[in-house]
């Protein structure tokens, strides 16, 4: 198959069709130059720090229409549109971002940055350590969800955005949403955490740890110092395979693969890839190692494990005191990694504080990763919510605004 076969045909002047944001470019912001390094939650300092980010849409003259998208474990800044006309796939949340889509870029200015600790243009363990001239590897300091949010706040200030109209993210992206509204309550008008929790469960930590052990057990890992040789591809692929199982559901696996064999009429009585589900996981693992850094996987999963919104802040109800954003909280019925009850815990604490909150459990059989898939109900919920938030924000601004 040639690349030309899969590239969507350009319609009109916009590449990717009328509902695509078209071509986008990754931009970079570098800050925290020594001696002004950022002191991280772990106590270590990091600087300079680079954030890779992308934007779509146009910031309004009142600077009141910015929406921040927070990506999950394996995401990046490329949230929508295409980098080049030769791209096979658009950004990771292109289904929901673009003209006429849930987050309509004719109305909203969308910002998405790669997290620190990542490997998609932001500073992470695969970046060159200025002190040694070589990649950080395990010399990279441990970063947390709040560190990620604090760097995003620097980006917000550099973009001169006084307040986010909204922010949204699924899974670990939801962790960042929650951290944002609590850490910077005056800077967020509304929030849409999706398929997330106020803390990672023991089950979540357990799966992360198995993934990390797979990477560290790979002889190529060499204590994280593999950048001049072969990467721990086998370990990272296993980590991804385990992760991927947790993003699906029993029902969906049954429907999609069943017990079907691949390219075989009967059992081979050997250990080659036989079942379709094996083949699928192998493909997921292999394609992941081509685009992801194993050390980043270690650091980011660890940041998820450490996340507990209420830690050091009292009860969850107390955590949300003073939060001023209104909320749309979405969970997924078949999600067993971040089950609905974890979203409800957030919702109950928000409601106890009188914070305007809508909660919906989306009926979907596709498990945790449902929020990456086409979902009309979810699109309509987000679109309706954003529209009303924007109306209220503008009404409030008009009411408070200076007399002409």
């Amino acid at each position: 198959m040639s690349i030309d076969d899969v590239v969507p045909i350009s319609q009109g002047s916009r590449f990717g069709g009328p509902n695509s944001v078209g071509l986008v470019q990754t931009q970079f912001l570098t800050f925290a130059q020594p001696p002004g390094e950022l002191e991280l939650e772990c106590g270590q300092k990091l600087g300079p720090i680079t954030l890779a980010y992308e934007t779509c849409g146009t910031l309004s003259p009142q600077r009141d229409n910015a929406v921040l998208i927070l990506h999950a474990l394996s995401g990046d800044a490329h949230v929508a549109g295409y980098h080049t006309p030769g791209d096979r796939k658009p950004g990771w949340w292109d289904l929901f971002i673009g003209p006429g889509k849930a987050i309509d870029t004719t109305k909203y200015f969308v910002v998405c940055a790669n997290i620190i600790g990542g490997c998609k243009g932001s500073t992470g363990p695969s970046s060159v350590n200025p002190a040694t001239g070589r990649p950080f590897g395990l010399g990279f300091p441990m970063v947390t969800i709040s560190d990620m949010v604090r760097t995003q706040k620097v980006l917000m200030d550099r973009l001169d955005i006084p307040r986010w109209l909204s922010m949204t993210g699924g899974s670990m992206g939801g962790f960042q949403v929650l951290e944002w509204v609590v850490r910077y309550p005056d800077r967020v008008a509304s929030a849409i955490p999706i398929a997330t929790a106020a803390r990672l469960s023991a089950q979540g930590i357990a799966f992360n740890e198995v993934g990390r052990q797979a990477i560290m057990a790979d002889p190529n890992w060499r204590g994280g110092g593999y950048y001049e040789g072969d990467a721990p591809r086998a370990g990272l692929a296993i980590a991804r395979m385990i992760g991927h199982i947790t993003y699906l559901s029993d029902e969906q696996m049954h429907a999609k693969f069943g017990r079907r064999l691949r390219d075989r009429a009967g059992f081979g009585y050997d250990f080659k890839t036989e079942f379709e589900v094996e083949s699928y996981l192998k493909y997921q693992g292999d394609s992941f190692v081509r685009r992801f850094d194993a050390n980043s996987y270690l650091y980011i999963t660890k940041s998820m494990d450490y996340f507990d919104l209420a830690a050091g802040r009292g009860s969850l109800v107390e955590v949300f005191e003073g939060v001023r954003a209104e909320f749309l909280v979405l969970s997924i019925s078949s999600d067993w990694l971040f089950p609905t009850y974890q979203s409800k815990e957030i919702v109950k604490a928000l409601k106890a504080n009188g914070i305007p909150t809508t909660f919906l459990e989306l009926q979907s059989p596709y498990g945790h990763d449902s929020f990456f898939l086409p979902n009309e109900q979810m699109s309509a919920m987000i679109a309706g919510f954003l529209e009303n938030v924007q109306r209220r924000v503008r009404e409030a601004a008009a009411a408070e605004g200076p007399e002409p």
Binding site: T358, F359, A380
Partner: protein, 210 residues
């Protein structure tokens, strides 16, 4: 909120209009089983209320979100438990009491999180219902009770008399009572248990005796 409010257009449903009339201006309101949010949206727009809803149906929650309402998707008991005592001025339960699994629990929760409760329900003591059972010997069906015995969501139907007796037992004061015919025409309380198709009660807890 003090901004000028638009005059409300005439209602299609008189019971909604009557419930709305019982809610004070600017009240904090919780609507249990709020459906597509019409009543809540009107209370917010025309009476300056602060409104919240609870609704079990996913499609209805979407309609509420489109209206800009804050709604909890799920069970009403679960949706109320996080609120502190007296969080709301009024909690509304419109024509849904008879569909709840545990009406006493629902009513107690309503009057825990709210200072007052407004409850409406179809009156099973209505003469038409009684006659149908008496003459046909079959489970009564009517515009207010359209289901068959095997598919009805109405698991806890009651009469006006049952409800009043229950309020007395639960030490609930009936602040207001409104009765409508089966065709939503207002009537007096005279022989209400025979004549009313729909009853609307406003309740509050009797003050504790020292």
């Amino acid at each position: 909120m003090t901004h000028a409010r638009r005059k409300r257009p005439a209602k299609l449903r008189l019971d909604y209009e009557l419930i709305e009339s019982l809610v004070p201006e600017g009240a904090k309101v919780l609507d249990l089983g709020c459906g597509d949010g019409q009543l809540l949206a009107d209370l917010i727009e025309f009476k300056g209320c602060e409104g919240r809803g609870i609704e079990i149906d996913e499609a209805a929650v979407l309609e509420c979100v489109k209206r800009g309402l804050a709604v909890y998707h799920g069970d009403m008991i679960e949706g109320m438990e996080c609120y502190r005592e007296g969080h709301f001025d009024v909690v509304i339960l419109s024509q849904t009491l008879q569909q709840t699994m545990d009406p006493p629990h629902v009513m107690r929760e309503m009057l825990r999180v709210g200072r007052r409760a407004i409850i409406s329900f179809p009156n099973f003591g209505h003469w038409g219902v009684r006659l149908k059972l008496l003459w046909t010997g079959r489970m009564p069906r009517s515009p207010a009770l359209p289901h068959h015995w095997y598919n009805t969501p109405n698991v806890h139907l009651c009469t006006v008399k049952d409800f009043k007796e229950f309020c007395g037992r639960e030490k609930l004061e009936i602040v207001e009572e409104i009765f409508l015919t089966a065709r939503y025409r207002p009537i007096t309380g005279l022989l209400a248990n025979w004549r009313a198709g729909l009853a609307i009660f406003q309740l509050q807890r009797l003050p504790q005796q020292p």
